[in-house]
């Protein structure tokens, strides 16, 4: 592959240093300018030491359902022979099932440099006493650029069940995954759009993310951060003389941009 633009070459070189294995696992990571969502594998916990009595399929199915829901929203136009996801793409990462400790600042920066915005994977933990924990873990790469004290870039959808999950527990886990993936996707997409100065898209994603996060009391620090960036994006949009609908807001309305935009 010929690299003709240093802007794209630099993150690739950084990634070759800090994440060489990842390039092999996630084909397409180092190419293209679309925003990438890394879809890792669903696995049993390697360290649990207890034989699980539940298959991985429930995790896999919940991930697939959530991915399809987000993909549906993104598909904006038809192309002969396929679809366009409006500047986003999913990258399946074969064999990849990371731990949170692997996400050093250098690693995350290289991911952002390669336009990766979100990564997630699933784990089924077989616990003592016949319990099982279903866990989908998300990493929102653009959160890493926040100033300290910064909100966690990690989030999870979890469910612990006795023995086998009941139908209600299965359905609830599906529903939770289908609510959480769009939440963390919009957080990541909005923050990255802001970083890339695509301000109209940034406020759109960030106001949605902020509304979705209101249902998560344990993530108010992330919600506040999203709000802060949305306000910045709104303020910068308004400085661009009569370039978008954001210019119509009064100073008072724009102070708390997403509150104005999402309440009546």
């Amino acid at each position: 592959m010929w690299i003709t633009n240093f802007r794209f070459a630099a993150p690739l070189i950084l990634c070759l240093v800090v994440c060489p294995q990842l390039i092999g696992q996630c084909s397409g990571l180092s190419t293209g300018t679309e925003y990438k969502v890394l879809v890792d594998e669903v696995q049993y916990s390697a360290s649990a030491g207890v034989t699980p009595a539940v298959s991985l399929d429930m995790l896999q199915a919940s991930v697939e359902g959530a991915l399809e829901k987000v993909r549906q929203r993104l598909v904006k136009s038809l192309r002969p022979g396929g679809e366009s996801m409006g500047g986003f793409e999913y990258l399946p990462c074969t064999g990849r099932h990371p731990r949170e400790t692997e996400f050093s600042d250098d690693f995350v920066r290289s991911m952002v440099g390669n336009h990766a915005i979100l990564e997630f994977w699933g784990t089924l933990f077989a616990l003592d006493g016949g319990q099982h924990k279903f866990d989908i873990r998300y990493v929102m790469f653009p959160v890493n650029s926040a100033r300290q004290p910064r909100p966690s870039q990690f989030a999870a959808t979890q469910k612990t069940v006795n023995n086998k999950p009941t139908p209600e527990q299965v359905t609830k886990f599906f529903v939770d995954a289908r609510a959480d993936l769009p939440t963390y996707f919009t957080v990541s997409a909005g923050l990255q759009k802001y970083a890339d100065r695509q301000l109209p898209e940034a406020v759109r994603f960030l106001c949605e993310a902020r509304t979705r996060l209101q249902n998560k009391p344990d993530q108010q620090d992330l919600s506040s951060y999203v709000d802060t960036i949305a306000n910045k994006a709104g303020a910068e949009l308004r400085q661009q003389t009569l370039a978008s609908g954001a210019s119509l807001l009064s100073d008072a309305d724009a102070k708390d941009y997403c509150t104005f935009a999402t309440t009546r």
Binding site: S55, L56, D57, M58, L59, Q60, A61, E64, G65, E68, K69, Q72, R73, V75, K76, S77, L78, R79, P80, G81, G82, E83, K164, P165, P167, V170, T171, F174, V175, R178, L199, P200, V203, R204, C207, E208, T211, R212, G234, L237, L242, A243, S244, G245, A246, S247, L248, L249, D253, Y257, F260, A261, T262, T263, R264
Partner: protein
């Protein structure tokens, strides 16, 4: 029979005959069975085509669920066509095939340029299955398309609508993609589906399970990679769970569309109600003349029933979509106040610029048209500005806001404005001037992007 009043002629030109191809005219409904990997097939003369793909297994389930997925798709199709008998000029197509061939976007992108006429409408339905112990979980997805009228056949057309208010036309847009809450099908329902499939997979000579019957060759389609053929019927009536179809030789046959043992699939798959409503809306929106009253009432009821179903709140965007479509059907029937439906939709999805735009414009429509209402100018302008804040490049919202200011400046409307909420005319003129500049700048940006 009312359907004979239509002069639609179903033509299935270009479709070879290798299995069975049945066609009749002049009729208003049609149904077909087609392989995914074959030549794109839809009913060219239909106002709306509904394509149903098999439900495929998610994950790596121990049991092969894809057989169940095809069975479920057939029952979804039969239920949909039974419900669709309140409408006219539609076609329903069941696709069969392997997962890799039955990609919904590929199917749509193949169909729209070749088989869907300009302005024609297409609904694609697909889903995923997952089995846990003795239960199967179903996740359904629906997407709506409209074929473009212009010269860009690969570009999807946004499903927009117009609302005339005074001298102005306001524009709105509803979502075109819908995800439905995961539904659990207990073992008993699975058995009912299997039993239902065993009865539904035949073409009967009479509306009687004991009558002579011939099996629909769905398995042959699944195995047929290169088969470019379709199995098609025209539909000319329904009664007691049976749908009467007509073959090409004009002989009549019957499909069992609802299982007689009392199994109502929509009790387990609420999305069937949504699909019924969506199909009715898409069939009659944009129709010239007054929409068919009874048909739009059927569609509206289905959408309201869906929105009232327990669990629909798990997918707020789809519930909001059902409410919006029900409001639009009321508007199409001439109702002046459908704003409650849009207000409820907005409450569910407050981050949607398009939904807030609709909520605003239907308040204007109500207040303008009802004698006992006054236009609350400041609140409505704030709605449009907030919608523009949510999506700052949304030219439709900006156009609506400009139209709203124009309306406020019209002398004929001055008596309709609530004085407590009025906006100073100087302020309106300033805002209009800003809007014109913003819209001109956005138009330049968009032209540059293209």
């Amino acid at each position: 029979m009312r359907i004979h009043a239509f002069k639609t002629r179903w033509t299935l030109s270009g479709i070879g005959v290798c299995l069975v191809m049945l066609c009749a005219s002049p009729l208003a409904h049609a149904v077909a069975f087609v392989p995914c990997g074959g030549q794109p097939f839809a009913f060219k003369d239909a106002e709306i085509n509904v394509v149903i793909l098999p439900y495929f297994q998610a994950g790596q389930a121990q049991h092969d669920l894809n057989g169940l997925g095809s069975q479920l798709a057939l029952l979804v199709k039969l239920d949909t066509l039974y419900r669709a008998m309140a409408y006219d000029r539609w076609g329903i197509i069941l696709l069969t095939g392997r997962k890799e061939e039955c990609n919904p976007e590929k199917i749509a992108s193949d169909l729209i340029p070749s088989m869907i006429p300009p302005g024609g409408r297409l609904i694609v339905i697909w889903g995923k299955l997952y089995q846990q112990d003795e239960n199967v979980y179903v996740q359904t997805f629906v997407r709506f398309y409209q074929a473009p009228r212009g010269a860009s056949p690969s570009k999807e057309v946004a499903p927009t609508f117009e609302v005339p208010i005074g001298e102005n036309k306001f524009e709105g847009q509803v979502a075109s993609e819908f995800s439905f809450p995961p539904e659990q099908l207990p073992i008993q329902v699975m058995q009912d589906i299997e039993n239902g499939f065993e009865k539904s997979v035949f073409l009967y000579d009479a509306p009687d399970l004991q009558s002579t019957k011939s099996r629909l060759p769905l398995d042959d389609f699944r195995k047929c990679d290169q088969c470019h053929d379709a199995l098609a019927f025209t539909v000319d009536g329904r009664k007691d769970g049976w749908v009467r179809v007509r073959k090409q030789d004009n002989k009549v046959g019957y499909l069992l569309a609802q299982i007689p043992e009392g199994m109502d699939l929509s009790q387990h798959l609420s999305e069937l109600l949504f699909i019924q409503g969506l199909m009715g809306y898409e069939r009659y929106t944009g129709s010239t003349g007054t929409a068919d009253m009874s048909a739009t009432e059927v569609a509206e009821k289905a959408l309201v029933d869906y929105a009232m179903r327990e669990g629909s709140e798990q997918e707020p965007e789809s519930k909001a979509g059902a409410l919006e479509l029900s409001g639009l059907l009321r508007f199409m029937r001439g109702e002046k106040d459908a704003s409650d439906a849009f207000d409820r939709a907005y409450a569910l999805v407050p981050y949607s610029s398009d939904i807030r735009n609709c909520a605003a414009l239907f308040r204007v429509y109500r207040d303008y048209n009802l004698p006992d209402r006054k236009i609350r100018a400041q609140e409505i302008a704030r709605d449009f500005v907030a919608a523009a804040a949510l999506d700052p490049s949304n030219s439709m919202v900006l156009q609506n806001l400009e139209s709203f200011y124009d309306l406020l400046l019209s002398p004929a409307v001055s008596h309709k404005i609530d004085l407590a909420s009025a906006i100073n005319p100087d302020e309106i003129h300033k805002q209009v001037a800003r809007l014109k500049l913003i819209r001109a700048n956005l138009a330049k940006q968009n032209a540059g992007d293209e």
